[in-house]
Symmetry: C2
């Protein structure tokens, strides 16, 4: 890592070979020259840790597949560890190990970052490592960088948005196509729009993790997940949709956070009836939207796809570039 010869290569280990992992791997392999030009270091994929090495993964040479994630992470030659396996364990232990040996870690794991973000940041600081997770919130929409860096000279007062694409897909289907709520949920599941455990989406747990990360990024204060008032969409009925439509309103799962006059942060996720003219009400399908209110800037709005393999890979690769730049 420190010898001049080695520094011309950027060794990247990938944990997870699902849709996001495969998209990251393909891009790194097929566009290595481009990244080399940009970074002055040529990315080299050292391995992709998966559960099943016999399954073919589009664009990943089988020789790179391994079940030994710990070996990849522990390899002192690995510069950047990209964690896109999801779940709290073993992802958490692997990320921690990488940070403890001073590596740059890029993760898309919102539950891990929401639950252990501060602890992991402290470990990263202690060991001169780096922790990057733009992909954990709103996929390719770079809301964390905007909040953390671009608006650092201003004072953010509130954040509100639609940060879970799966539930928005369901709500949009009911509101626009008149599909009964239960059918819309089933349809979203069949299309793969819901997480493996659909309660993460439907009960607002995914949105709560994202708003907790957003709020901590905006205000630098700890926002534990259980301090986010969380209500999902599973309790909604067709009558609720009909009533909202009758008032010219649209039901959306809104995530919001606000810093009160006392400096305390209040965060919540709840189904909310919005006037049809509200920019959040206009989010179609899997679209995510966030509005950032600041004292000087007024309202800045960011919109884009909130999920998807390529979209999440875009943010992961942005963080890989960030991690590879000299600090």
């Amino acid at each position: 890592m420190s010898s001049p010869a080695a520094s011309s290569v950027l060794r990247v280990a990938l944990l997870g070979g699902g849709t996001v992992g495969a998209a990251v791997a393909r891009r790194l392999l097929q566009h290595a020259d481009r990244y080399a030009d940009q970074l002055g270091r040529r990315p080299e994929l050292t391995g992709v840790a998966v559960r099943d090495t016999t399954r073919a993964r589009d664009g990943i040479p089988p020789a790179l597949l391994t079940t030994d994630a710990a070996a990849l992470v522990g390899d002192p030659a690995t510069d950047v560890v990209v964690e896109v396996m999801g779940g709290l364990e073993p992802a958490g232990s692997l990320v921690e190990t990488a940070l403890r040996r001073g590596a740059q870690v890029v993760t898309a794991n919102k539950q891990l970052v929401a639950r252990r973000g501060e602890e992991l940041h402290a470990i990263a600081r202690e060991h001169g490592a780096g922790l990057h997770y733009e992909a954990a919130v709103m996929a390719a929409v770079p809301v964390l960088a905007v909040v953390r860096e671009s608006m650092a000279g201003d004072e953010i007062t509130a954040l509100r948005g639609i940060v879970n694409g799966s539930t928005n897909y369901v709500l949009d289907l009911v509101a626009r196509e008149g599909v009964p709520f239960a059918d819309a949920v089933r349809q979203a599941g069949e299309l793969g729009y819901l997480e493996a455990d659909p309660t993460e989406d439907l009960e607002g747990v995914d949105a709560a993790a994202k708003v907790a990360i957003l709020a901590r990024t905006a205000w630098g204060t700890s926002v534990p997940l259980d301090a986010v008032e969380t209500q999902g969409i599973s309790g909604l009925t067709d009558a609720d949709f009909a009533a909202a439509a009758g008032r010219g309103e649209v039901l959306k799962l809104v995530a919001e956070a606000r810093r009160g006059g006392d400096g305390r942060v209040h965060a919540r996720v709840a189904p909310t009836a919005l006037p049809a003219t509200d920019p959040l009400a206009q989010a179609r399908g899997g679209t995510n939207v966030v509005e950032i209110d600041a004292v000087l800037a007024g309202t800045v709005r960011l919109v884009g796809a909130g999920a998807g393999g390529d979209e999440t890979a875009s943010a992961v690769l942005g963080d890989v570039v960030r991690a590879a730049r000299p600090r």
Copy 2:
């Protein structure tokens, strides 16, 4: 600048005491503690260069006003020079002087950056200085940072947006309120929505400068201002608006840039009839919108106020924070 004692202060010189300058000064003076906490260095306003020191400026102590911009810029103790005076000269010479002595420069001057950006970047590199201009495009909407940093791992293919709030105000007034075009232009002028020289807005010169900066930031290639195909709104007639409305379309001044298969960048500004459902068509009043298309990310959209003293100050102060952080 290099002694440990001095490094605990961040000396900021301000060139220009208009709406943006006054907003920056007020914020730096009133929130010095906040910036000190954030940066580990307390900002100190060393002076505000203006043409007329006898005019009162809201929130700026008269003792800070000076007509001697060159002295402020040349002072080796000044860490950050903020240029918000506008115009090519003397702004250009002052920025160049500051860069040549290795200072950090923050500017909101789109014409200067569009015309001399590459030359000034080269001077900055040569002298270990810094050049920051997020405020030059879309005020507080941090489109340059998003394009340059957040999407650096992706591949941007096209940009399109409404980047001039004044003409959008005029066009919106005609389209929504039915105000005759000539009256709408007059009204915008009376409300101070047009630049001192209104042809900058009306002839698309302002939008062309912004799209040139955007394109260079996205693709790293030189985009001279005269290579931007530019058509303003001054040639529009009430009949054009009526015809567009009859087709269910909305006339907007659209700025766009695209990288062709040959790697060449094509940029243009032109009045364009958009379907009413296009997100650009929905921009009200002085709102700015930009859509960034990238291979992995799809389309990411940023929306916010495109002008205004506080809004521009938000971006300037973000750059001051960026400039003050250790590199």
